[in-house]
Amino acid sequence: MKYAFFLGCVIPTKYPQFEAVARKSLPKVGVELVDVEGFSCCPEPWNFKSYNIMAWLTIAARNLAIAEEAGLDILTLCSGCFATLAEAHHILEDKPELKEEVNKRLSKIGKKYNGTISAKHVVQVLRDDVGVEQIKKSVTRPLENIRVGVHYGCHLLKPSETLRVDDPADPRILETIIKPLGAEVIPYAERLSCCTGACQDEEMIFKFRYNKLQSLEEAQVDCMTLVCPACFEAFDLGQVMLNRKLEKKFNIPTLYYVQLLGLAQGLKGEEVGVTRHKVRSPALLEKLN
């Protein structure tokens, strides 16, 4: 299973620990990550799409064309990159006149997107292409006694008509790929709520994040896990900022799914970069090591 590894912007710059652990843990389940040159920002589906939809679509099409030239489907760790690339692919297939217009622009740099590849989020690759059995086989140290609260975020699942990953009202994909790692997935009230990455109102952002963290705390999780760097920033750095405003202090460490995978495959907490996070929990590290 070979994929063009689409790094995006935020993971390789702010959170390279996720990229590093992906490069170690994904080959162990049969995924080969190919580095293809020339990719740019996907571009991100909040601010850049607000700026100009056509510019957003054109840059996305250039990225898709680069992977297509290499003859590979795209694998990305980021829900934002996934949403942009999968949605752009869908739009170009759905609207031939837009595809023509975009390809006219791409012809200026000798590129063309034919629409023969797909962009996949790593969790989709793990569920659909790798499979639960293969994940289970790679586990050398099951994460027993680890209570995980799952955060789906929005752009992995919605718009479901376009992305077709899972039912956004009752998704199961993360539970499906966490179970073989041996960890216990704990349900909590705010499981499907948003990280508020794109909202521009600070008061609202704090309230959203407070509700989520409060709900996780009540569910007595050891950590939360998620699959998007924007969501990670919202609940790691965001939790520190929220704590500064509050009387009480939340201490809910946030782990990227691939970090959980790496840990279950025998890597130590330091090796998957947990110690680089803002919110740390000695109790969790002890449980993990």
């Binding site: 912007c9 935020v10 390789p12 710059t13 702010k14 390279p16 620990q17 990229e19 590093a20 490069r23 040159e37 020339g38 990719f39 740019s40 920002c41 571009p43 991100e44 589906p45 909040w46 601010n47 850049f48 799409k49 607000s50 700026y51 100009n52 939809i53 510019a55 054109t58 840059i59 250039r62 739009i91 609207k95 837009l98 622009r105 791409l106 200026k108 740099i109 929005c154 752009h155 919605k158 718009p159 479901s160 956004p168 009202a169 709520s193 948003c194 508020t196 990455g197 794109a198 909202c199 521009q200 109102d201 609202m204 309230k207 959203f208 970069g273």
Partner: protein, 151 residues
């Protein structure tokens, strides 16, 4: 008297995926599940679509417009029985604000970084050092000549 722009609707019906707004029958399903509407009663996707339909969208077309409270979570699109896609209506409105040079400062800065460097985060020496420490290669610059030609 509020300013009524009778042709405003046409601006949006020409935008791909924002062009279903005439199907809206104002049921409010989009409001019930909207996370922003729960915290800020002034943010109301049903009302935003209605304002566009009636040509009363002017108050929405500002740097500090209520539409920037949208989290772009797409829940409104999931629950709409008419396939209206309120979020695409909101994105189209944001594009109009953008064309008038009135994007909020944070968003404008973020867009500027992408237009200048091809990435949404500026790559510094410190970043490449942190990458090398973790056994990763340094990030190469994005071919900006290509991006500039297609934009």
């Amino acid at each position: 008297m509020p300013k009524i722009d009778l042709d405003f609707k046409k601006k949006l019906t020409r935008v791909e995926y924002a062009d279903f707004l005439s199907y809206c029958y104002q049921c409010g399903a989009c409001v019930g599940d909207c996370p922003s509407a729960k915290l800020s009663p002034a943010f109301n996707p049903r009302e935003i679509v209605l304002r566009v339909l009636l040509g009363l969208a002017e108050p929405l077309l500002k740097k500090d417009s209520i539409i920037w409270q949208c989290t772009t979570c797409y829940t409104c699109q999931e629950v709409c029985p008419q396939g209206v896609r309120p979020i695409e209506v909101i994105t189209a409105l944001k594009n109009i604000i953008s064309a008038q040079g009135m994007l909020p400062d944070g968003i404008s800065a973020s867009v500027g970084i992408i237009k200048d460097t091809g990435r949404v985060v500026l790559v510094s020496e410190a970043i490449n050092k942190r990458r090398t420490e973790q056994g990763l290669t340094e990030l190469k610059p994005v071919p900006m000549d290509e991006l500039n030609k297609i934009l």
